[in-house]
Symmetry: D2
Subunit: 106 residues, 4 copies
Amino acid sequence: MSLDEIRSRLRQFAAARDWEQFHTPKNLAMALSGEVGELTALFQWLTPEQSVVATHDPDRAAKIEDELADVLLYLVQLADVLGVDLLAAGEAKIARNETRFPVSPS
Amino acid sequence: MSLDEIRSRLRQFAAARDWEQFHTPKNLAMALSGEVGELTALFQWLTPEQSVVATHDPDRAAKIEDELADVLLYLVQLADVLGVDLLAAGEAKIARNETRFPVSPS
Amino acid sequence: MSLDEIRSRLRQFAAARDWEQFHTPKNLAMALSGEVGELTALFQWLTPEQSVVATHDPDRAAKIEDELADVLLYLVQLADVLGVDLLAAGEAKIARNETRFPVSPS
Amino acid sequence: MSLDEIRSRLRQFAAARDWEQFHTPKNLAMALSGEVGELTALFQWLTPEQSVVATHDPDRAAKIEDELADVLLYLVQLADVLGVDLLAAGEAKIARNETRFPVSPS
């Protein structure tokens, strides 16, 4: 499934439940923020080293995947209601970062 | 550019700058959280109605696209270092949500 | 109970459980971030007008108080481990804001 | 300056600028979230050990104090518009945590 297909599926999901009325950019930004908070909480007491192997524990892996998914889904919906092409925005930002942080000559 | 291509480009970007050492899941979760904070701040004083047309102002639209991109790029990197397939996780979550929130019969 | 007394009580709480080892500024910043995410989530689908009367519902009021408390407690602990006087920092910031945003003459 | 005095000063500050109209709980929760994002960003690339001494650098210390203050000020305003006594809520939560996480007998 591509990001475009996820966007379409989320549109249908919201339309079928008459939830589009709740999906203003303001509300979706808050929902995104809430899900990122839940994701962050999964790593808060781990050392950086423990965080690297966090998915080795199946229960924790399932929670992490679930929260990563929630973040992705709200991000896709937020970009969609704003009319922003998320992949194009991401590509443009990578290009800006490549100029902003040049590679040191070795 | 697909999400897979963005992931590859971000891997190359980090490797070329020797930044992989900083990209633990713990650090990337914090970076994601910081960017979502910046994104949220763009909508904090807008009414829901104003947020719907937020991208009509070109300056604000550029800032919003920039922050959406930052969120996407850290999300992709976080999933990558954790070995999570972001699109598969998103698809699985949509499927769970479709079961969890059945459409009311009309 | 004053903010100073809350800080003392939190120090005792952590010491009695040998949790001080987890209370690095980095970890506490993440914990604070997670709690703010939970607090934000309580308001995400409310209109601004509904948010004004959110505490009229006793169940929601209890959740809001609980999350506000969590945010306060992590904020106090974070300032404490960093050696920052939270009230002095707040007072200094108000003074800066009063200069930065002068009142319009009427 | 006590937390009560900070609350009074913030009320006057908002009233003098006619900003009370923007201070719905929904908006203030977003503002709080944005400030916590900025605070988190100050620690994102630090190791836990580096975060412990983060305030030893005067420039970084000033930024950290500034962000801690911003978080405190929005938290106080959010509790205020909701009619929640922040210190009482914090004290009640500590009491619940003391019951929830009993100290192990040694």
